[in-house]
């Protein structure tokens, strides 16, 4: 069935050192910059995403330092503070949270998990990385040339008429990076549809793949609307054509509708891949099939679709009509139900499993706890009565950080540790992994739980100066932020070190179940010697344990 290999078929390229797999095939810079191997592109993304994460993180620490005191002292003028929180917002949202898990873990693992040799369009995959870097450079230019002070939301008429900062350059950067995520999502959808290994039917796909399928649907159906909204802001800003300018009859709310039509599904783009990662980790370390597989897959798709119907809860107090507000409020409650199902099923997966507490599992357990808090505080924001009070306060900031940092970043780090041996062939140090997980958990809670209290007390967000009575909670939050920063620096140190001194990992260090664990680690450039034939469903750990027991019996010769 497989065609005789063509000229550029990597199977013909003999690996210089079989143990290094795809990493060892070619060490030249050109081979990295012109690679079409999804695994190498994943590592390129890993490097650039970490860079932008650090950049956004530094901005966050400056913001937290500024907020230690009621008066402005770190920044001598409010403009610089406004530019800093805009940097934090833009870089974290568009350059870390949205591409995070899909571009790094998704790119690396999707072909491996469905038994394919590569994504459907390898060259488009590389193009997506170059567009991502081009977008990053444009946004960097915007900062160097004067920065942007509109916040990551670019609300009109401030962004179009009253801000004299580099709004157009930043908007162009985001416009470009939007296409990078569209191309990645397009690649994933087509690959999942057409390139699954024989026998890998839809109900045998690991939930990691389902999660990336649902995320790609949202990206493909949502991102273009953000692109056109950014174009309209740029057109309005240059030509004053009045689309958002009430003096000519335009309506500022038109921008908010178009912007939030993408930006709320964008938060599901950020969290759905993490659901996939957590499902993989929880089953691997509880050594049990996922509980309610079809409900979990269905919940992913339900979130993807319902996610597009709820954006109005960002606009309850912005003179949106009450009737539209009621519709969006009901739907916002309904969209919380599938997330609840997922947390319920993860907990049920632990029941009667055999749970071990390695670093990925610590991150996963942390995720379940923090995501539940984040999700449930979302209900306060979807109820119209309380949203009037807590909209645009630190309650909202705490809510979305619980989901983004408590959810997505914990899952990202958990996934990175879980598949590190597969990606690099080396084991990370278990002690440092557990320590960093604990530090991140403690630092995170100390940073963002006080902000819930601050929020309900009424401290508005994006404030450079605040009244004295909020200071103690802000100081606690800044203290937590410093612990969190240390927690994030640790993996940045011990993971690269593990490349040199880490224990060499075999094909399946966690004895986990999945096609990616059947091939070598690091896998060869063409992934599988022979395309595997899939016979059973995912997470068949009973099968795996019986096979391990038989192998032990044979080795020790015990009858």
């Amino acid at each position: 069935m497989s065609h005789e290999p063509q000229a550029d078929d990597p199977r013909l390229v003999e690996e210089s050192d079989p143990k290094l797999g795809y990493l060892g095939s070619d060490f030249s810079i050109k081979s990295w910059l012109l690679t079409t191997d999804h695994k190498r592109i994943a590592l390129l993304y890993l490097a650039s995403i970490t860079f932008f994460f650090i950049f956004g993180g530094v901005a966050a620490s400056l913001v937290r330092m500024e907020l230690m005191t009621p008066r402005g002292d770190v920044f001598n003028a409010p403009d610089d503070y406004n530019r800093t929180f805009t940097i934090h917002g833009v870089f974290m949202v568009f350059f870390f949270l949205i591409p995070g898990v899909p571009a790094v873990l998704g790119n690396f693992l999707l072909p491996l998990m469905i038994g394919a040799r590569d994504l459907a369009f390898p060259r488009i995959n590389l193009l997506s990385w170059y567009i991502y870097m081009l977008g990053g450079l444009f946004t960097m230019y915007a900062l160097v040339a004067g920065g942007v002070d509109t916040g990551w939301t670019f609300y009109t008429p401030y962004s179009t008429m009253f801000s004299n900062t580099q709004v157009i350059a930043a908007a162009l950067g985001i416009f470009i990076v939007g296409f990078s995520s569209i191309l990645t999502a397009l690649n994933f959808i087509v690959t999942i549809h057409t390139m699954r290994a024989p026998g890998m039917t839809w109900l045998r796909l690991p939930l990691f793949i389902w999660a990336h399928y649902a995320t790609s649907l949202i990206i493909v159906l949502g991102t273009p609307v953000l692109a056109i909204t950014i174009v309209l802001v740029a057109v309005e800003r240059v030509f004053r054509v009045g689309i958002f300018d009430p003096a000519y009859g335009g309506d500022p709310l038109l921008f908010q509708h178009l912007f939030w039509f993408y930006s709320h599904p964008a938060v599901y783009i950020m969290i759905l891949p993490s659901f996939g990662v957590i499902s993989e980790i929880v089953t691997a370390f509880a050594r049990r099939k996922i509980f309610g597989y079809s409900f979990m897959a269905g919940a992913l798709l339900a979130i993807a679709v319902l996610g597009f119907l709820v954006w109005g809860h960002h606009m309850f107090v912005s003179s949106q009509s009450m009737y539209a507000g009621l519709i969006f409020s009901v739907l916002s409650f309904l969209v919380a139900v599938p997330s609840g199902i997922k947390v319920f099923n993860w907990t049920a997966t632990l029941y009667k499993g055999s749970v071990s507490f390695r670093t990925p599992m610590l991150y996963a357990l942390g995720f379940i706890g923090l995501f539940t808090i984040g999700g449930l505080t979302g209900l306060v924001l979807s109820t119209m009565a309380t949203d009037v009070h807590v909209h645009d306060t630190y309650f909202v900031v705490a809510h979305f950080h619980y989901i983004m940092v408590g959810g997505m970043v914990m899952a990202y780090l958990g996934g990175l540790h879980f598949w590190w041996p597969k990606m690099t062939g080396r084991m990370y140090s278990e002690f440092w992994g557990a320590l960093s997980a604990l530090t991140v958990f403690i630092g995170f809670n100390l940073t963002f739980f006080p902000q819930f209290i601050l929020g309900y007390m009424g401290m508005p967000r994006r404030y450079y100066e605040y009244p004295e009575e909020f200071q103690v909670l802000n100081v606690m939050s800044t203290a937590g932020a410093s612990i969190l920063a240390v927690g994030y620096l640790m993996p940045l140190i011990y993971l690269p070190i593990s490349l040199l001194i880490g224990k060499v990992a075999n094909a399946n260090p966690w004895a986990a179940y999945g096609l990616e664990w059947t091939t070598a680690s690091p896998p060869p450039t063409h992934n599988f010697e022979e395309i595997p034939i899939v016979t059973g469903g995912p997470y068949d750990y009973e099968l795996q344990d019986r096979a391990d027991q038989q192998r032990e019996v044979q080795e020790q010769g015990i009858v």
Binding site: F295, S319, M384, V388
Partner: protein, 353 residues
């Protein structure tokens, strides 16, 4: 030691209802969170690897449990939604006898006007027990009128009226914020809402309204003598804006003819206002040319008093309070006009287009 509050004051009829919905939501959330946390930790410890717990009869899926777990949260959600919506209906429906106060949000200050005519900047005086409705609009970007103690917030958009109502129940001074990001001094665009006994409020009203009566007449004269032609909001002539001038420091050129001679700061008081109307060329504000014609002998004395009253009413403080005690520490509330003048039009976007 515990001197910082953990829960906002409850000073309006809305507050207890909104707090009730909030507490209800917190209870539901805590119930779910604690039960999940408990089960996760309990299972994780009970079924840890190597423990001899009974692991027979593993179920991989239990549609009944899933169905229960779908219907219960949905019903709970609908219930909470209905409760929240009912409280929201009260938030948006002012009673018949509500008093209207008109509020303008402008880049980085709130200007309020009472029906009786008295005007305030970054301040709002309301009698306790009287339902008040604010009819608001914005002159430039989207702001948001937010009083945490009353649990009310409403975005203020250019080109549209938005309304918000509350009925204060407790006398006192509560913070007022701008909640929608609106530019450089978004965090300074706030102030105080003072709830007073009705009698005190009437007193305050007279004090400010007679002053405002003259100020209102002064405003008409301001247009009649074409002052607004240059000093008005959207004039093309480069003349110093008069909002917030009175009571604040003003930089004057040492030698009016030579723009880059040194600058001296004086306090803008009634004398300065009269002199700059009658003999504008004697004291020229730094950064501006001496273009203003002299009005010597053209403005009768009582018109001059009304003009000065008007300029004072749009001054930095309010008409009745002595200008120094604005009830705010330095750096809070609206900036003194000094920042705009010292800025010399470095282009904080909101200037006259």
């Amino acid at each position: 030691m515990w001197d910082f509050p953990l829960f906002p004051q409850s000073a309006s009829t809305h507050a207890p209802k909104v707090d009730a919905v909030y507490i209800g939501l917190m209870i539901v959330s805590a119930a779910f969170t604690l039960s999940f946390a408990f089960f996760v930790l309990y299972f994780a410890v009970k079924y840890r690897r190597g423990s001899r717990a009974d692991r027979s009869g593993i179920q991989d899926s239990n549609p009944i449990a899933e169905a229960v777990y779908i219907t219960v949260p949905t019903l709970l959600g609908i219930g909470l939604f209905v409760w929240g919506a009912l409280v929201y209906f009260e938030l948006v429906s002012p009673p018949g006898d509500a008093v209207d106060i008109y509020v303008i949000g402008k880049q980085w200050m709130w200007k309020a006007q009472h029906p009786e005519g008295s005007k305030e900047i970054n301040e709002l005086h309301v009698p306790v027990g009287q339902p008040v409705r604010l009819v608001m609009t914005s002159q430039d970007v989207i702001h948001s009128f937010y009083i945490p103690a009353f649990r009310v917030k409403q975005d203020v958009l250019p080109g549209r009226y938005t309304t918000l109502w509350f009925q204060p129940t407790k006398v006192g001074r509560y913070r007022l914020f701008c909640a929608e990001y609106c530019g450089a001094e978004h965090s300074r665009m706030g102030g105080w809402v003072t709830v007073m006994e009705p009698s005190e409020y009437e007193e305050w009203l007279e004090g400010s309204s007679e002053q405002t009566g003259m100020a209102v007449a002064g405003e008409a004269l301001f247009r009649q003598y074409h002052c607004s032609g240059c000093h008005g909001g959207n004039s093309t002539v480069k003349a110093p804006p008069l909002e917030g001038v009175f009571g604040g420091p003003v930089p004057l050129l040492n030698d009016p003819a030579d723009p880059n001679s040194g600058v001296r700061i004086i306090q803008a008081d009634e004398r300065y206002l009269r002199d700059s109307i009658l003999r504008p060329k004697d004291e020229v504000v730094a950064g501006y040319e001496p273009l203003m014609p002299s009005f010597e002998g053209q403005i009768p004395e009582e018109d001059m008093l009304k003009l000065v009253a008007y300029i004072k009413s749009i001054g930095r403080g309010r008409t009745t309070r002595p200008t120094t005690d604005r009830g705010m520490q330095d750096g809070e509330g609206a900036p003194s006009n000094i920042t705009e003048i010292m800025g010399m039009g470095t282009g904080n976007g909101g200037d006259a287009r």
